[in-house]
Each structure stands twice: as structure tokens, then as C-alpha cells.
Symmetry: C2
Subunit: 594 residues, 2 copies
């Protein structure tokens, strides 16, 4: 498996590596990141952007003769990759590229594995030849002697220091001064520089270029989504198990009540339980679509709508990577608080989970920046609808837009809680909401464009228009995948509880968009009551099965690794064992008491 580059195996290999990464990430996140950056992503890039002359490096990686790192981010530039300032200038005399870092602001930084351990980096630098700049290109750059791990001369290299979490990764920075690498170290599948210094575009298979771009851009994000949905499961499992066992208060002279019985506590936790189920199934299904697209882009037959499909997957991931990572981060915090003081114990695990998930909202595409990618794509679809009454949505995540007039004229006509507790209601309401927000965003931008440039107009239509649009679209797509999966793959006897979970997730998300439903006259004050009452009813229905649901989702105890969240139900016994692990003073006379 390791070094196969046989195209037929691309999909299986990718799935296999993703599964290993998922398993590793949930037990020991730093190791998974180290490996993902040090081997998988580098191999991906070499396979897709490199050519035959680079393939021997893959073998070195798998034989542990080399460890790599990806050097894109600079001190002063993260999201804005185009403006990176590191240069690689071709020197025809020696047939080498000469790498330079103009100043500290252009130092490559945050590079995982670079701080202490990697022997080579995949460097993104502005390629210059013949005095002309040809933009960002990727180079293989040896930085440390593999035998001694001492840096090569010509480099300023160091560790960026302690972080909030993930300190098992040695994130580093590096500056180059007239640092020379052979011409052949340019990854030349897309373009090459000849011995004589001529720049030549060498790419002839546009499908593969797209596929390569997709794989390189999205593999990391899909991985983050998988890890995020798993960490979300961990967090809710701990909090639900704790809530079922912890009692506090009670009516006069009555017994103490388990906190899971409190409506407010249910409302704080169960929407996150439903999110865990929906987002786990969504991520699994989306991974299939993603891997299919990767496979298709690696076949030799041209695929008609491959370009559209890849754009759509990019739009989906740009909305749902933020959705999953933020949901996970907020869930961890709510679960920490829902476990009270005991949740603040390191042994409860919430602190480590939070520190691990926290950077996921920033790296591999800052969440707020990614959301703009989605809204930009949706706005292109809207233009298409207006001008040609069509969408470019082969996965059909926004094909409903062609019915925009009908959709926008819809009003909620139900008259009871029952009418909102249906998949049809949630789906239709989301279609109305997305259409409404999309139309408003388009309108806002059109107005702004009369006096502002496109860049400014886009920026000034994010807050109450484009950003909520992308968020709503992400939730809608996650639910759509979830319900498709249930209908196609799930046994009838499981559909009831999975239906409850889907509705609770859908309605809880809609609860945050109610203002738009009222503002756009989709419904009135009664609709608000129906939705909120439905959420409380669903929470109440979930009370009896919340523990079973989390048991079904949860990994084994050693993975969750929380003193509050073990499957055995022995909360206080486990807490006691944990507390007595320290240097407790236990006089002999009292030992019997334990």
C-alpha cells in the first residue's frame, strides 16, 4: 500500500489513510497530525503535483529515512496565500533555484514538524526565472541532515514555542538566505523550468489538475471534519453519562433528581447529541462523494461535469468544515459547563479536547474565510438561475434554486407543533431560508456595487447576509446527506430514533435563524412557539434514549479517556480512584473505609 501510485488504488489508499488518521487522531491527536503532515499530505502532493523524478522521496518517507513538512504560511500571511513573499529564483549557471526570505515577516512559520524533526519541507515560493515572476510553486527543500537532524547551513530555523495545545507537534519557522536547491526539486507536473531557464506549462490533463487541486485543498479539511465529528461524540458522551448519574436538588421531600431530567439541561445537551449523530453520518457520506470525485479525476476518461462537481464539493466543505469545528468547540464548552466543577478536572478531558479542536477553526482555511467561498459559489449559482434558470449543482445541494419564485412565495401554513416535527417542514423551511438569504445577499451586493468595488461590496455584505447564508446552507446539506443515508441504508427499526435526532438537529439549528423566518414573513409568532415547543418535546423524547444513543456512537473508554464518561456507570467510584491516584494521605486506620 505505502508507495502505490497506481491510479485504480488512489481511492482505496486515500480511504485507508483517512481511517488510520481518524483512529489515531481520537486517541493521540499530536501523533496523527505529525503523521498526516509528515507523510500523507506530502505524499499526496508529490503524487499529484510531482512527476516520476520525485517518487523516490515517497519511498524514503515510508522507510522513515525522511520526515517532511508543508511550508506555506508566512509570519505575515496566512489565508492570503497569493501574497506569500518567499522567492525561488532560477540560476541558469548552476541549474539551481536560489531561495530567499526577504525579511522576518516572510519567514515560513507554524510549519508542523519543522521545529525540531523534519528533514525536508514542501516549500511554496514565488518562482522567478529570467527576471519574471510566475507565481507560487511548490519545491522540495532539504533542511536537515537525516543522520544528525542538524539544520543545513544557510537556514535560520527554530521552534515557534509553546502553544495552547497540540504541543506534541514541533511547529517551526524558517528563513532562507541564498539557499540553493537543484532545479529538479521543483514539483513540475503543472509547470517546469528548463535548464535554460524557460518557464513551460507542462500540464495537459485539466481534469487531473482539478483533481490534484481538490485533493490537496480538501484532504486536510475532510480529515478535520472527521476528527471534529469524532470529538463531538466524545464530548457529548461524557456529558450525557455524567448527567444520567449526577443528581442534584429535588421537590420538597422528594428524592434527588438526576440532572438529565431537567428540561434546561436537556436543552443544553441534546441538540449537541443530535448534532453528533447527524454530522458523523454526514461526514462519512460526504467522504464517499469526495473520494469518488478524486477517483473520477484520476481516470483517463473525461467526466462531463467533473469541474462542477469539484466546485460543489469545495463549496460544501467550505461551509461544513466551519459548521463541524464550531459545533464541536461550542459543544465541548457546553459539556464542560454541564459537568460543573468536575468538568474542570484535567481527567474529565474537556480541557484537552478544547485545546485540540480550537486551532481547527483557524487552520486549513480560517472558518470565516471559508464561509465566503461558499457564499461566492452560491451567488454564482444565483446568477445562473436568474440568467439561465439553471444551477451547476450535480450533487443537487442547491438545485432547488430553480424553483426560487415558488419557494419564496411559500408561507408556513401549519397550526400545531405536529406540523413542524417533520422532515418535510425542516427541508422546505431551509430551502426557503437559503433562497431568501441568497436573494438578499445578491441584492445587497448589487446595491453596494453601484458605489463600491467588488472586493469592498463583498466585505460589506458578510455580516447579516452572506455569512448566515453559508451557515444555513451547511446545515441544510448536512441534514440532506443524513436523511438520504437513513432512507437508503438504515433498517426500519432504527429509523424512529434516527428520525428524532435529525429533527432535533434541524429544528435546533432553525431556532437560531428564527428572525429571518419572521422578517421574511415565512411565519409569525406561532411558528416560533411551534418550533420551540417541538424542540422541548424532542428533548423530552430523547431523555429515555440519550444514554443508548451516545453508547452507540461512543468509542471505547480508553479512547474517551474521561473519568466522568466511562461506560460502566460507576461515576463516583471512578472519581474516587482518580483522586486517590495522587499523593493522598490515607492513615492506615482509615484505609478500610475505602
Amino acid at each position: 500500500m505505502p508507495i502505490s501510485t497506481n491510479k485504480a488504488f488512489v481511492k482505496d489508499r486515500a480511504r485507508c489513510l483517512m481511517s488510520i488518521n481518524e483512529a489515531l487522531a481520537v486517541v493521540c491527536p499530536a501523533v496523527s497530525v505529525k503523521q498526516a503532515i509528515g507523510v500523507y499530505l506530502f505524499q499526496n502532493t508529490l503524487t499529484t503535483l510531482g512527476t516520476e523524478r520525485h517518487q523516490h522521496i515517497i519511498e524514503e518517507l515510508w522507510n522513515q529515512q525522511a520526515l517532511s513538512a508543508l511550508a506555506l504560511t508566512e509570519v505575515a500571511h496566512g489565508s492570503d496565500a497569493k501574497n506569500m513573499r518567499t522567492t525561488a529564483t532560477y540560476d541558469q549557471e548552476t541549474e539551481e533555484f536560489v531561495i530567499n526570505t526577504p525579511d522576518f515577516q516572510a519567514a515560513k512559520c507554524w510549519v508542523g514538524n519543522l521545529g525540531k524533526t523534519c528533514t525536508m519541507v514542501l516549500l511554496f515560493a514565488q518562482l522567478y526565472t529570467g527576471g519574471q515572476c510566475f507565481g507560487l510553486h511548490a519545491f522540495v527543500v532539504p533542511v536537515r541532515d537525516p543522520k544528525t537532524l542538524l539544520p543545513y547551513p544557510g537556514l535560520i530555523i527554530g521552534d515557534i514555542g509553546e502553544k495552547i495545545g497540540l504541543n506534541g507537534i514541533d511547529n517551526g519557522f524558517v528563513m532562507f538566505q541564498n539557499y540553493r536547491i537543484p532545479r529538479q526539486n521543483l514539483l513540475n507536473r503543472v509547470a517546469d523550468v528548463t535548464k535554460d531557464g524557460d518557464y513551460e506549462s507542462s500540464f495537459t490533463e485539466p481534469g487531473k489538475l482539478l483533481g490534484a487541486a481538490l485533493e490537496n485543498l480538501s484532504a486536510g479539511r475532510v480529515g478535520i471534519m472527521q476528527e471534529g465529528s469524532n470529538n463531538l461524540i466524545n464530548a457529548v458522551t461524557i456529558a450525557v453519562r455524567y448527567a444520567a448519574l449526577r443528581t442534584q436538588f429535588g421537590s420538597d421531600n422528594g428524592p434527588e433528581v438526576p440532572i438529565i431530567e431537567y428540561q434546561l439541561h436537556q436543552w443544553r445537551l441534546f441538540p449537541y447529541v443530535s448534532a453528533a449523530a447527524v454530522l458523523k453520518i454526514f461526514t462519512t457520506s460526504l467522504t464517499d462523494d469526495y473520494l469518488n470525485a478524486v477517483e473520477m479525476s484520476n481516470t483517463d476518461t473525461a467526466i462531463d461535469n467533473l469541474r462542477e462537481m469539484i466546485s460543489e464539493i469545495h463549496a460544501i466543505i467550505s461551509a461544513t468544515k466551519p459548521l463541524i469545528t464550531w459545533t464541536c468547540l461550542h459543544a465541548i464548552q457546553e459539556c464542560r459547563e454541564a459537568c460543573g466543577g468536575h468538568g474542570y478536572l484535567k481527567a474529565a478531558r474537556f480541557g484537552d479536547l478544547r485545546s485540540t479542536v480550537d486551532p481547527c477553526v483557524s487552520y486549513e482555511g480560517d472558518n470565516n474565510v471559508l464561509l465566503q467561498q461558499t457564499s461566492n459559489w452560491l451567488l454564482r449559482q444565483w446568477s445562473s438561475v436568474i440568467n439561465h434558470n439553471t444551477t451547476h449543482s450535480p450533487l443537487k445541494t442547491c438545485s432547488f434554486l430553480t424553483n426560487c419564485n415558488e419557494i419564496l412565495s411559500k408561507r408556513f401554513a401549519g397550526s400545531s407543533v405536529r406540523h413542524v416535527k417533520t422532515v418535510a417542514f425542516v427541508t422546505q423551511t431551509y430551502e426557503w431560508l437559503i433562497t431568501y438569504l441568497l436573494k438578499n445577499t445578491h441584492q445587497k451586493q448589487s446595491e453596494l456595487l453601484t458605489t463600491q468595488c467588488k472586493f469592498t461590496a463583498r466585505n460589506n455584505s458578510q455580516v447579516y447576509k452572506a455569512a448566515p447564508l453559508s451557515k444555513a446552507y451547511g446545515e441544510y446539506v448536512a441534514l440532506k446527506y443524513y436523511w438520504n443515508h437513513i432512507n437508503e441504508h438504515v433498517e426500519a427499526d432504527l429509523r424512529s430514533i434516527l428520525g428524532t435526532l435529525g429533527l432535533l438537529y434541524g429544528l435546533s439549528c432553525l431556532d437560531k435563524h428564527l428572525v429571518y423566518l419572521l422578517q421574511g414573513n415565512y411565519g409569525n409568532g406561532s411558528l416560533v412557539n411551534y418550533i420551540q415547543d417541538a424542540i422541548l418535546e424532542l428533548c423530552n423524547e430523547m431523555k429515555k434514549c440519550a444514554v443508548s444513543v451516545t453508547d452507540a456512537l461512543a468509542p471505547p473508554d480508553f479512547v474517551i479517556n474521561s473519568v466522568l464518561g466511562k461506560a460502566d456507570g460507576k461515576l463516583y467510584e471512578n472519581l474516587r480512584n482518580e483522586l486517590f491516584r495522587g499523593d493522598t494521605c490515607v492513615p492506615e486506620i482509615l484505609a478500610s473505609k475505602l
Copy 2:
């Protein structure tokens, strides 16, 4: 100052200790907690609940011959203090109390300073004498030899282990088995047990009892509010200074734009900047009212409405301790994200701030539990309004309720953004909102009470009724104090910017309650647009002064202690110095480059 118990100095002493604590907390939180628990709160309790025979302990504390801890929380009981199960049974033979911990669930735990260092604890235990239980009482219990710090026999004592943060505090647990203390160790100002074992209520000054209760309940919470508002200032200062210096993207061929220019970025940060200003001033003003009440309760003349005032202060604190701690926690997270990857550096400080503030939402009253205290008080006021058309609100935080009919009939009549950008609009809208939510909460509880007991009815009206009611009330009170302070104490030339800050805070908070404004027909879709447009306009107005505002609020650099948030504006120079502090490899030949 240390051991003065002169009543005239009570207020000055409390203010002085609070100021020391505030200053210490922002530089070194663990030390401040250690001292607050180990000395201040213990002294408070001894002064208010103890009598002459306990005063020598205060001297020992200040002479560093003793360190104390407060042992209330048990493993299985936190918020529900009444159900603590540790017992102190009077033994007439020896004139001692015999302390017992029935099982591990009743072990005292999370007790700050108990893990390794304290020599005595203030123990809350159920007092038994003559076979009868008289409820929770406070006892001074020596637990360690002050010379050796070795625990006394009869105790199982230990450290609870690592926590998410504040590991400078040794939180501990303790179990007692037939552990004996002298009869005189009962704090006997409220009640005493005679040599013969008779229980006698000895308290004759109800004002002082109330005052004592207030001081003991609220001193810690007021301290948390002070620390929370200071940490909020720290977080926004770092993020605003970073945003002013960090550039990213730009229009075609235009210069790169500082991220503070982006509307979305302003909207993410500036409401928290306004919160920092409003909540800081509110906390300072409320502290005055709190200290006045403490002073009044320590004078010998009876105060008419002291009981009402103390209840009202308790209601205010129960709403605003949650408001401030949650706002601070959310702000820290948003600021971390707004500084991107660099925000994840430990040296950026957000990680430590978050770990420090995180437990504040749970201790000294869990936020969700406290909010119920406020709504319960408001519901009592509502009954008073219905039955006698009056409120018991000497601080006038809800006296407007007597106009409830007029208020509820009000509708927003404005027709432009200008009409919502006024103090009058924000105040009136909050009065409408609180009245609306209070009426609905009362109605909901009344309905539920026809089939449920009071306990259950209260629990089942929290989610969309009582909890948002308390939150809205907390915001309203904070703004009310803020505007009073500006009008009374601030020079005219500062009122413009302080007015902008107040409006931005008020409207940003109202933005989260818009659904209620629409549902209750206070306004329609246009009102939503006006409020949201006003927020964006105010953000834009703040752009030019955000740095000055945070400069005015911020403590010195060594206190903020963030590589991203120094006042000198040398972001990348500071980052470089920080990164090069590690074991960076700098070849001699390149040293000139730095």
C-alpha cells in the same frame, strides 16, 4: 488594616482588599485565589459568623501562622448546599464536635488550598445535638500541623489533581472519621450549642444577619465580576491591537487592508470592546452599592428597606455574574479566533485567559443556577405588581414594572436607523422586553402549576422564558448603571465616545433578543433592519477610535503579557523576539539579518 474589626472601617477594608485582589488576579490569578480563599473570605466569615472567641485566628492568618480553606462543596453536591451530608455531632462528655464523612460522595472536595498547604478549614456540616439535626453550620477545623504541614490523624486528605487551569491552587479533598474539635470551634454568632448540648439561636440583630449573609454570599461573586471585566479588557485589547496592525488581502492591485477595516471583523470584535467598557463601569458602580449595603448592615440604626436592597443586590449579582463571566469567556474565544493561528501561541495569552475564566461560570454559584435566583426574584416582584401595584426595588432596577400595561402596549414607531441609535430606544425596548418575558414566564408557570408541583413548574419554564428573562434583566441593569455613571461623573468631551460604546453594547445585546421583539409585535422586519444597520454603523464609527478606547481601558504591557497585544505597535518585531527566545538555530553568517 489587617485585623481591624471596627465597624466603621468595614467598608474601607472590604474595598481595599477587593482592589488588592483585582490587581493580583489580573497578573497572577492563582495567587489571588489562594489569598482570597486563604485569608480574605475566611476573615469575612469569622468576622460575620464568628464571635470574639474566634478573632485570634484572624491574627494568625495575617501573621502567616495559619492558612485557611473553605470546605462546602462535596463530591456529590455542589449547587445544592442544603443537602450536604458531612456531620458534626456534639459529644457532651468531652464538649467536642465529632465530624464524620459518611462515604466518598460526601467527601469535601474542590477545596482551594486544601490539597497541600492549608492548616485549617472552615467546614460546613450538618450540626447534630441531642439526636436532632439543626442544619448546616460553620466550624473551624484544624487539619494540618502548621509547623510540618503534615495532616492530623483521622483525616483522608489529598489533592484533586491537575485541572484545566489555575494549577497554582492546590484544590483538595478531605474525609473525616470521628474527627474531634472543641465545642468552641462552632462559629456561634447565629446559633450556639451550650456545654450541656442545648441548641440556642443567639442572633438578635436581623440586619446584621442579612448583612453577614450578603457579604459571605456575594463578596466572592463581586470579586469574580471584577476579575471578569478586567480579563475581558485584556482579551479585546490584544485582538484590537493585532487587528490594527495585521493586514491581509486587498482589492485588485490595491494595498493590503488591515483586518480591522473588514466589517465582519469589526462586528466580531467591537461589540466585545463595548461590553468591556460597559461592564467595567457597571462593576465598579455596583461594587459601591454593594459596599454601601454592607456598611449599612453594620451600623446600629435600623435601615427601613435594607432587606429589600439586599435581595435586589443578590438578584442583580445573580444575573450579572453570569453575564460578565460568559461574555468574557466568549470574547476570549472570539479574540483568539480573530488573531488566527498566532492567537494559538501560548505567548498570545488567550489560552491562559480562557483556562482562568472558564471555571468562573461554575464556581461561586453555577451560572444557570444563579439565573434562576434572578428570575425567582423578578417573579416575586411581578406578583407584587399584580396584587399591590408596587415593587420592592429600592435600587429601582425593576420599578418600571408598575407601568407594565403602558409598557406592554408600546410599539416601535420609528422609521429609520436614527431612531434606534438612542439611549431612550434601548432603555424602553429593554423595559418592554423584560416586562414581556416576565409576564410570559409568570403565565407559563401558572399554567404548569395546574398540573405540576412548584419545583417542576419552575424547571419547565426556564428554557425560553425564565432564563432569557434573567439575561435581559442583567444586560438592562448593566446599561442602566453605565448610563447613570456617564451622566453623573463624566466630562462632556468624553460622552460622545462613551455614548457610542453604550449604544453598541445595548443594540448588540438586543440583536440576540430580536425574535421576542417580533413575536410580541413590538416591531416588525424594519426594526430588525434598523437595529442591524445601526450596529454596523456604530462598528464603523468605532473603527477610528477602537485602538484609543482599548488603550484607555488596558493595563500595562507586563499585565496583559501578550506577544500580540503590546502597546508599542511593533507586532512583528515582538513576534520575532518571542520566536527567537527559543533554541533557534542562527548560523553566524545570518546573524546580521536579524
